[in-house]
Symmetry: C2
Subunit: 328 residues, 2 copies
Amino acid sequence: MGGDFGPPVTVPAALMMLKTHPGLQFILVGDAASLQQELSSHSYDTSRIEILHASQQVEMDELPSQALRSKKDSSMRVAINLVKEGRAQACVSAGNTGALMATARFVLKTLPGIDRPAIISTFPTIDPNKNLRILDLGANVDSSAENLVQFAVMGSVLASAVDTIQNPKIYLLNIGEEEIKGNELVKQTATLLSNSKLINYAGYIEADVLHTGEADVVVCDGFVGNVTLKTTEGVARFIMRIMKEAFMRNIFTRMIGLLVKPVLKSFIKRIDPSRYNGATFIGLNGTVVKSHGGANVRAFACAIEEAVMGAEKNIPERIRHEVEQLLK
Amino acid sequence: MGGDFGPPVTVPAALMMLKTHPGLQFILVGDAASLQQELSSHSYDTSRIEILHASQQVEMDELPSQALRSKKDSSMRVAINLVKEGRAQACVSAGNTGALMATARFVLKTLPGIDRPAIISTFPTIDPNKNLRILDLGANVDSSAENLVQFAVMGSVLASAVDTIQNPKIYLLNIGEEEIKGNELVKQTATLLSNSKLINYAGYIEADVLHTGEADVVVCDGFVGNVTLKTTEGVARFIMRIMKEAFMRNIFTRMIGLLVKPVLKSFIKRIDPSRYNGATFIGLNGTVVKSHGGANVRAFACAIEEAVMGAEKNIPERIRHEVEQLLK
C-alpha cells in the first residue's frame, strides 16, 4: 500500500516479477478491495498471487513509535508478521522507512550477536558489471566501533552471497586529511577491523573514489552514510537539471538536444537511480527490503529482486553463522 | 610553491589578478630563482610584485606536525608570518592542507571566542547567481555543539559581508528519518541555534537539496562536510565520465558529440569545480585561503579572489565583533 503510488505500482511490479521468476509467489498485503481492483486489470497466474487483507495503513509521515503502537493491523505490520511466521521468505515495502525499520526490528528482532540492524544498498561504479555495497545508510546514528564491525561482517556476507564476490574487499569511509585521519569512531573501527581475521579489511576510502569500482563494500555510520546517499542523489539531479537547461536555451540547442537524445538515453540508463532501488534491512531474523517511495514499476521490481536474492541466498542464516565465528 | 604545478600556475594567476584589481599587490613567497624565472616570461607592473625568498618548502604528503617543527623557513610559514606581521592582508596557498591549517592556527591563533577554525567554501546552486556556503569542510572532526554554533556565526558573517546577503539563512545538515532526526550533535546544536538571536537559523536541511538555492549557509561537522564535498566531486566526475563514454561509443555517437560540444561547454562551465576553487580558513586572526592542489591558472585566480574579498571585507574583524555579541 506504501510509497507515492501504492498498488498501481506495487502490483504490476509483482506481476512483472512472476514472469522472470518461475518459483516466485506473492502475498499482497493491504486493502483487499484496492488490491483486487488493481489485479483485475491484468492477466496473471492466480495460483501464484494471494491477497491478505489488512485494515490499516501507516502514513508516510507517521511517527514510527505511533505506527508501532496503534497500527497493529497495518499492511506493513501484517507483512512483516508473515516473515516472522515463516509464511513469507521476505517482505518488500515502499512505505515509511522509519516505521518499517521500527516494525521489522520489533517483530523480527536482530540476529544473535548483532546489536543493531543496518540499511544497505548499492551504488553504480565506472565498471558497468560492478556495483558497490554501502552501509549503514541511516538506520543508526551515533554508532559504536563494534556496531561498524558488525556492519562490515554483514556487508561482506551480502557481497559474497548475492554479488558472488570471493573474499570481498571491505573499506571504511574516511576523510583524507593527513594529521586528522578520521574521527575517533573511524580510528577505533579501523583498529578492530585490522585485527579481524573474518573480514578482508582493505583500509580507508574517501568519498570521491566510491565510484571507481575499487571497493566491494564500504562501511560507515548511518548519519554519514545517509548524507553520502542524499548528496549523491542531489548532485545527480542538479547536474541533470543544469544539462537540461543547456539544451533548452534556444531553438538551436533544442534541435541538438533532439539529436543527442538516443546517446543521452544510454547514459541516463547507467546512472538511473531506479536500477539501484531496494535497500535491505540487514541484521534481522528475516529479509526486509525498502523501496524508494517514489519508485515506478520497474524500480519497485528491482526492490523485489533484491528481496528474492536475500531470501534465496538465505542471508540472515549466513550472517548468523559468520557472527558466531566472530564471537568465538 | 605549492600544489601540483607550483609557480607556473600561481605566478600567472597573480599577474592575471593584477589586471582586474588595480589596488592589489603581491608578495610572492618561495624559491626566488623559480619565481624570478616564471616572472621573466611575462610582462607586468614590477612595482606591484615583490619576491620574498623562502629556503624551504612543505611537501604535499608531509605531516603537519613535522612541517610545523622543521620547516620554519618554508614558503607557507613565511607567507603566513607576513599576515601576522600585517605586511600582507591575506595568504593564498595550493599546498598541503593539513600543514597550512596547522601553521595558520599556530602562527595566527584563533579569534577570541572561537575555539577552532573551520574550512568554508562554496557550492553552486540551480540559481546561476547564487552560491551556497558550507562549513566545516574538514578542519575539525568530533566537533562539539558549541563549535558548530561558532561555525554558524562565522558562516553568517561571510555570507552577509562577502555575498552581501542580508540576514543569511543558516541551516544545519541533517538526515531526514523521522524517529531519529539526527545524531546527538545535531540535536544539541539545533537547540543552541534556535535560542540564538544573532543567527537567522532556518532549521535542518538534507543533503539532497543543498543545490536548490534555499540555504545561504549550511553548517556541519568537518567529517560530514568533507564527505559531502568529496561525494559531490566524485559523483560529478563519475557522471561526466559515463557521459563521455556514451559519446565515445562509436563513430555515429562521436559525430553527435562534436555537434553537442558547444552546448555541453556552457553546461560544464556551470558546474566547473575551478569556478568554486578557494576554501577560506575561517576563525583565525587573518585571512588564509587554500586552493585545490590541482588548480589551473584560472582556478587559482578564483582562490586569490576569495582572499581579496576576505581581506577587503575585513572578515576576521567582523567575526571578532559578532562573537563578542554572542558571548554577551
